[in-house]
């Protein structure tokens, strides 16, 4: 699983690099040659969306979401267990709702048949890849919930 997460993170990281490359190339083309990358803006948006959604998935698995730890660190073992169970359950439920909403959005765009202006790229492709990232986040949230509930693997015991 850790190798899979590393591969996903590296791929999504490259998307951030491509996003930067598109931005620079757009700026150079616009100011230097009065031109632009066809649909560069749309592709950049998609790259960003896909990278962030997959980043959320891997962050969920690796417990890298930003949390307030002060009370957890002061708590005893039993209280920590209660905190863990509640926190990971709420996290999983919210992610499930998020995944449902993203899937709904993809079908919405698919039905509308939206395409980009210049290269006529179907927009559902990018949105689908992004939503798969969020569905993966639902999966990683479920795995973490299972590990915490039944294997007692909280972040601090892993």
């Amino acid at each position: 699983m850790k190798n899979f997460v590393a591969i996903v993170e590296t791929t999504a990281g490259y998307f951030i690099g491509v996003l930067a490359l598109i931005t620079v190339t757009e700026a150079v083309l616009r100011y230097g040659f009065g031109s632009h990358i066809p649909d560069g803006f749309v592709v950049g948006q998609m790259m960003q969306g896909i990278a962030i959604c997959w980043g959320i998935a891997t962050a969920t698995y690796a417990d890298r979401q930003i949390t307030v730890d002060v009370f957890y660190e002061l708590a005893g073992a039993r209280t920590r267990r209660v905190f863990d169970v509640l926190a990971y359950t709420i996290n999983f439920l919210f992610m499930a709702l998020f995944g449902y909403a993203m899937t709904f959005k993809v079908f919405d765009i698919l039905r509308a048949g939206e395409i980009s202006n210049e290269l006529r790229i179907p927009l559902w492709t990018g949105y689908t890849l992004a939503s798969i990232g969020i569905l993966a986040a639902v999966g990683t949230a479920a795995i973490r919930w299972w590990q915490v509930m039944f294997q007692r693997q909280s972040e601090f015991s892993r």
Binding site: L19, Q45, G49, Q65, T67, F71, Y72
Partner: protein, 434 residues
Amino acid sequence: MTEQTLVAILGCVAVLALMAIRVPIAVCLGSVAVAGFGYLVGMEPALGIMIDSPIRTVTNFNFSVVPMFILMGGLVSASGMSRELFRAANAWLGHLPGGMAMATIFACGGFAAINGSSVASAATMTHVALPEMRRAGYDPGLSAGVIAAGGTLGIMIPPSVLFILYAILTDTDVGSLFIAGIVPGTIAILLYCATVQVLYRMKPQWLPRGHRSDSKERWQSLRDVWATVLLFFVVMGGIYGGFVTVTEAAGLGVFGAFVIGFARGRLPWKTVVASLVEALRTSAAIFFILIAAFLFQYFLAVTQMPQLLGDLLAQLPFGPMGIMLVIIAFYIVAGMFVDSLAVVLLTVPIFYPVVVNLGFDPIWFGVIVVVTVEVSLISPPVGMICFVMNNMVPDIGLVNIYRGALPFIAADAVWLALLLAFPELALFLVHRMG
């Protein structure tokens, strides 16, 4: 009390309660927002905002400045520019009383000019400056305190991730915020150096003088900082002069950091990939909170919480500046217990309309918010920078790091007072902007 007010108050309490049990901050905000909005308006509209708002946030090209400035910071950190800055500052200042401490602060300020994160600045400078200060016989707690305080400059001197988030939340111009941070950031450097001088007068054995570099060494050390200067002028010069947009400046910053690091043989591909992954991780965490913060704004809008709070604060018999002091006190106290990023994302949408209605400049308020966050980053019990440093150098001890940072919190208080008394310190460059 109306139902909306009650739901708003319960919503805020629920967010804090969920944060306390270590639910991720984004999930706290998002789940309360959807539940509260659903209760007041209906579950179908609540689902509607959940369907539309998050995807708009993650695909908003204007927000690409967040991952790009983070990536730029990662690349410059990996290519060793912080070490060059420290070496140059130390060559010029090291022989003075408390010289190495002042050199650290100047190096932190310089590094902040090409890196937007306070925690990253402090972590980088801990690697670079702390061993040198300890070797020179500096008090370990004070050394850590100097780096912690210097690290806070990362979010004041542009480019700053916190300014970007403030701009996104309030729809303020991020370029103006960046420019507004330059003079206050410079004043902070001078105030921190003044603090070092006061400390030297009190405990000279804590900050022994270093050796005096000859003029050849000094000028040679300056030769190495060209990359930092070049990057800063490309990014901030482009924004200040109105030559490029902030997004384009961020892209140019990434490109410049990559080319400089690569050309100098300091960025092997493995390091570039590690920087990309780190940028992704940090950006994903920030975007997730942003997604939730926007959902929470919908909730706040239907509860009319900002208006209610505005009316409530307006009834206080203190006048606008008194109300501002109440808000600042709230930020500082809240930042002592809750992660400062969460405090900003949770409260700026509430306080911003109030502050603007009171007649304060929104850019100036952004600077004030960042100063209060800087204080909370190094103040107990949840000083994020001190926590990170404690993990890196556990032998110094968290209490000693806090003790070392304490004099600089006093400097921050003076700094805050100056900004409150003279808002033009933050605004005059903005008014001259191209």
